[in-house]
């Protein structure tokens, strides 16, 4: 089986190389297909709107909403400065995916419940779907695309491959970003709900601890045993 390199955080360029088949990447194919169906919808929509106009023009009212405020936001994403001008309603996740071309972070539930959108802001893991990009002016964001050093995968990415920490791969970018932060938190002595002694400075990452600390990342394929194994292997190396 070929693992989905897209979700292992390769840079967009190499992603294209990896996924090209029949002269088209998966993303190009999806965008093209969406454009075709959108075109069909527009045609259908136009004809019904036109007939309404002909029958009773007074019924067709178009309310023009006040245009959204457009705000210039500058973020440092994976070490690069990115400037975008966006509607303040844009989530950090949408800013990354739709405005910066970083589609590694995934939109699962869009309500902060599944963790597929997990990114690191100043090294701390957050749900990028549940926050507005304008609130992160000037801050440092690391996404799955920013973990590898060139072709050298991050240790957590390697561990997920080695221990089979995924199946379909959709939750994987979030799982990996979350695991990177988990290891840093444990190193800093952060406690969890299952840490028996809150005042002990060092944390032993037992399977119970790993499960509790990863509970904000859901995996519908049920790759949890592999995920726990991957993190445990790194925790053992760390301690």
């Amino acid at each position: 089986m070929t693992k989905d390199k897209n979700n292992l955080g390769n840079k967009p360029d190499s992603e294209h190389d990896q996924l090209k088949s029949g002269g088209q990447t998966r993303r190009e194919f999806m965008v093209g297909a969406a454009a075709v169906s959108a075109g069909l919808a527009t045609l259908t929509g136009m004809s019904s709107a036109e007939s309404e106009v002909i029958n009773d023009p007074s019924k067709v009212t178009i309310q023009v909403p006040s245009p959204p405020q457009s705000i210039a936001v500058e973020l440092t994403v994976n070490g690069q400065t990115k400037s975008v001008s966006i509607d303040p309603r844009t989530s950090l996740l949408d800013a990354l995916r739709e405005y910066m071309g970083l589609t590694g972070s995934k939109k699962g539930c869009d309500h902060g419940q599944c963790g597929a959108c997990t990114v690191l802001v100043d090294g701390r893991r957050i749900n990028s779907c549940l926050t507005f990009a304008v609130m992160y002016q000037g801050q440092k964001v690391t996404t799955i695309e920013g973990l590898a050093e060139g072709d050298q995968l991050h240790a957590v990415q390697e561990a997920f491959v080695k221990h089979d920490g995924f199946q379909c791969g959709y939750c994987t970018p979030g799982q990996i970003c979350s695991a990177v932060a988990l290891l840093a938190e444990a190193k800093a002595g952060c406690a969890s709900a299952v840490t028996s002694n809150l005042c002990a400075g060092n944390v032993s990452l037992t399977d119970e601890e790993i499960r509790e600390r990863m509970s904000g990342n859901l995996c519908r394929c049920g790759a949890y045993p592999g995920i726990v194994e991957a993190i445990r292997s790194l925790a053992e190396a760390q301690s």
């Binding site: 902060g112 701390r124 893991r125 549940l130 926050t131 507005f132 005042c199």
Partner: protein, 332 residues
């Protein structure tokens, strides 16, 4: 999501008040983990958002008297892991760590946690009647699916449950909320901060328009519970779920007798629930199972179950007894 305008304020809390002044339907935003969710569902639709994250309210300050003052913008994860809190107010650390996920705790602020809104599914579902969301539209939960709802402090207008874990510990610790508003600064006891639904479930706290939470103070007297304490959360999943019932139990034990006790409950009332009747019963007694059972009975004396949540009455009693047992056993 409805359109809104956005402004970020920096400096002192007065900057936020100045930005809010004269604007209708403005709302402060800190972590946003609850507000943005509600805005996506259009349960809440502020027309102006005031981002307060750059205000200087992010400190945890040890007070001269041994207490601690926690800035409203301190993240839940930072508060839970602060060494002074872990040592002196461990029940608060444990309650915070029992809530949400690591990602959400890194985003959610202390002030925002105090203002968390109920997760009643009818409150979220904008096509269903809900007195909290649309006053006088009716309560869908009373006759509906009410497994997650309250058994204490309800009214015939609303039976939703307060979702916070942090607030349960704060109720037990006699926390004091510091606010600033157009009419000046106030200190409000946490137990008086949230309101029961009564006839106006849409009014959830005593905060006035534009008033801003600046800090939460924990009195030094509450650190006497740093040895004998327990925060027990009972839920459908082992992690990352709201409480069916939670209990913060704190005991001061001297010569084999309970000198003083604090018991607060979550998941079973529209506000963080302080069980004063239970505390009275515990005071001056030996820490035995019999005493704990009597205290639990007293705490739930006025409980009223609904079709799907009757189980919470017995579950609450058992949760209190177990939490008190663990607390009496002492914690490392």
């Amino acid at each position: 999501m409805k359109l809104f305008t956005y402004a970020k304020v920096a400096g002192g809390a007065s900057e936020a008040l100045a930005e809010a002044s004269g604007k209708t339907n403005s709302h402060y935003i800190a972590g946003g983990t609850n507000l943005i969710d509600l805005m996506k569902e259009e349960v809440m639709s502020p027309s102006h958002l005031i981002d307060i994250n750059a205000l200087n309210l992010s400190q945890i300050e040890q007070l001269g008297n041994g207490g601690v003052k926690i800035g409203a913008l301190v993240k839940n994860s930072d508060l839970a892991n602060h060494s002074y809190i872990r040592q002196n107010y461990p029940v608060l650390s444990r309650a915070l760590l029992s809530g949400a996920s690591a990602q959400l705790r890194n985003m959610a602020s202390v002030g925002g946690n105090l203002l968390q809104r109920t997760r009643c599914s009818y409150f979220y579902d904008v096509v269903e009647p809900c007195n909290k969301r649309v006053p006088n539209s009716g309560c869908s939960a009373i006759e509906g699916y009410n497994r997650m709802h309250s058994i204490l402090g309800t009214s015939n207008k609303c039976i939703s449950a307060h979702p916070s874990d942090m607030c349960v510990a704060l109720a037990a610790l006699d926390a004091i909320i510091h606010t600033t508003g157009p009419d000046g600064d106030r200190k409000i006891d946490l137990v008086d901060f949230h309101k029961l639904p009564g006839n106006t479930p849409e009014i959830e706290t005593v905060l006035l328009p534009d008033e801003l939470i600046c800090a939460v103070e924990l009195p030094p007297s509450s650190s006497i519970f740093s040895k004998n304490w327990c925060y027990l959360k009972v839920r459908d999943r082992a992690s990352y779920a709201f409480a069916l019932v939670s209990a913060a139990a704190c005991l001061e034990i001297d010569n084999g007798q309970i000198k003083s006790a604090r018991v607060a409950l979550g998941g079973i009332a529209p506000k963080p629930w302080r069980a004063l009747e239970a505390e009275k019963l515990l005071s001056g007694k030996a820490p035995t199972e019999q005493t704990f059972k009597a205290a639990a009975d007293a705490a739930l004396k006025n409980a009223k179950g609904y079709e799907h949540n009757n189980f919470k009455i017995e579950m609450s009693k058992r949760t209190i007894v177990r939490a008190l047992k663990v607390a009496a056993g002492g914690v490392a």
